[in-house]
């Protein structure tokens, strides 16, 4: 999973509940939903990526 564009994802029913992230890979058309779960290694990778200066998680529609 290449972290280029990372967007917050909210629950489709409880719309203010943050449930994960969507990672879009512009090179291969792949889209990955990553649940907000500390046991998920993709979630861990996003947290590490977000902690680096210059990387930014965007809100939907931004």
């Amino acid at each position: 999973m290449i972290l280029e564009i990372v967007t917050k994802v909210y629950d489709q029913i409880i719309t203010d509940k943050h449930i994960g992230y969507r990672v879009t890979n512009s090179q291969n058309d792949e889209v990955t939903f990553v649940p907000k779960n500390v046991n998920n290694s993709d979630y861990q990778k996003i947290q590490e990526w977000d902690a680096i200066d210059g990387n930014n998680i965007v809100e939907p529609g931004e």
Binding site: M1, Q12, D29, V31, K36, V38, N39, S41, D42
Partner: protein, 430 residues
């Protein structure tokens, strides 16, 4: 003409019994004697210990080793081969590279991730560009059908200090408890594998644990473009116990390149607290030419100081083990069904995927291509999510997808939209 001598006892010149009969009991030799059978064949239905307990017995075609209450142990340094001998002894999953759910090839690789063969992760840190594939180039006559191939497509002949390439498998800690790591009885580990490359020289294999401890061993690819079997034994580690959980316990790593940050020290040939510079001393730079290729298969890590034959698992068993970490709906099938579900409102689909095996944890969902829900009419499905929040032992996943203008309450199924190249992958890798 035949002759018969009838006696109860035969003795040697010193008067010691060689053969003695007392009732139905015939005794050969005496205490302290060694009895040798010429021709090495003894025919018997049972071999018993001095307490009359069976060691080996035969009844018809059934051979029984030991008796009730016995412990049948293998001597230190001995190894077993054949079906049923210490089954699932290989700590590595998919060591024969036979399962490749994500696809059989990947190109333009420069970063980290799982690309082709299941469970195998690549970590490329500014060290060239690579293609990888599940190859059919294998060592002859060993039973392997596939190997993992690395092919350099853009070289980096001058590695910066922090550059490296690592090919690794991450092992769940709860699968490693029997190694007794962190105790005085810690098991040794033996890593065996087949490897081939045009680039000869020194390579490094490394074990790195969750406690920031590691040990490395060097091996040499001696002959270019020739399959060679390598066996490396790592001492048991009396420090740093594995946690008993579903997180990473051990990284089994093969270096393919290492800048000075990882190679300028003294190779850590004994377990030690991690010092980067001691990890891959002497490692050749496989990224130094676009002519370079590296193949590996038959990777086995097992307890003990010797390598047993590679443990081939049935394909379905191997697949199930991989599916604990990755479950991919098969590509190549137009309108392939993902799951059944319903519309709770006019813009949402909810379905359940029942998994073929328990996944390690809540998975990510990776998709490419186009999908639709099918009910009274077909509707484009996008923006997949799941909501579970479970930490481990996932047996089913609730899938949600955005749709539009559907009828609340209707049943529907989720499938690819006549897109045989569509991918739908659940991943719970370490």
């Amino acid at each position: 003409m035949s002759s018969v001598i009838k006696v109860n006892t035969v003795q040697d010149a010193d008067g010691n019994n060689i053969i003695n009969e007392s009732g139905d009991v015939i005794t050969v030799g005496a205490a302290g004697d060694t009895v040798t059978v010429a021709g090495n064949v003894v025919k018997s239905n049972a071999l018993q210990a001095s307490d009359a307990g069976n060691i080996v017995s035969q009844s018809g075609t059934t051979i029984t080793v030991g008796a009730s209450g016995d412990t049948v142990a293998l001597a230190s340094g001995a190894s077993q081969t054949g079906f049923g001998s210490n089954a699932f002894r290989n700590i590595i999953i998919n060591g024969d590279m036979s399962i490749a759910q994500r696809g059989t090839s990947a190109t333009s690789l420069t970063g980290s991730g799982y690309n082709t063969c299941d469970r195998w992760r690549s970590q490329i840190s500014s060290a060239g560009t690579w293609s990888q594939s599940q190859s059919t180039d294998v060592p002859t006559g060993q039973g392997f059908a596939t190997s993992y191939k690395w092919d350099c497509t853009t070289a980096d002949a001058s590695l910066a200090a922090g550059d490296s390439i690592i090919f690794q498998q991450r092992v769940e800690a709860q699968f490693l408890q029997y190694l007794k790591k962190g105790t005085s009885n810690a098991e040794s580990l033996t890593l065996s594998f087949w490897v081939k490359s045009n680039k000869t020289g020194t390579y490094i294999a490394n074990l790195y644990d969750e406690n920031n401890r590691n040990i490395s061993k060097a091996y040499t690819i001696s002959a270019a473009n020739t399959w060679e079997k390598k066996t490396l034994t790592f001492a048991g580690d009396t420090s740093g116990a594995f946690g008993n959980d579903n997180a990473i316990g051990l990284y089994v790593q093969f270096f393919l390149a290492a800048g000075s940050n990882m190679s300028s020290g003294t190779l850590a040939t004994s377990w030690e607290s991690y010092t980067a510079a001691n990890q891959a001393v002497g490692q050749v730079n496989l990224a130094d030419s676009t002519s370079n290729e590296w193949y590996i298969t038959g990777v086995q890590l097992e307890a003990g100081t010797s390598a047993s034959d590679f443990e081939f698992l049935p394909h379905d068993v191997n697949l199930r083990r991989c599916q604990r970490y990755c479950f991919s709906e098969p590509a190549g099938d137009a309108y392939h069904l993902i799951c059944n579900g319903f519309y709770p409102n006019t813009s949402l689909f909810i379905g359940i995927i029942y998994l073929p095996t328990t996944m390690r944890g809540e998975p990510s969902i990776t998709t490419s291509g186009s999908f639709q829900t099918a009910s009274t009419s077909d509707k484009t499905a996008s923006n997949f999510t799941s909501t579970d929040n479970a930490v481990s032992n996932i047996n089913a996943v609730q899938i949600r997808a955005d749709v539009s203008s559907v009828t609340a309450g209707d049943g529907a199924n989720l499938r690819n939209a006549n897109d045989a190249t569509a991918k739908f992958i659940l991943s719970s890798e370490l």
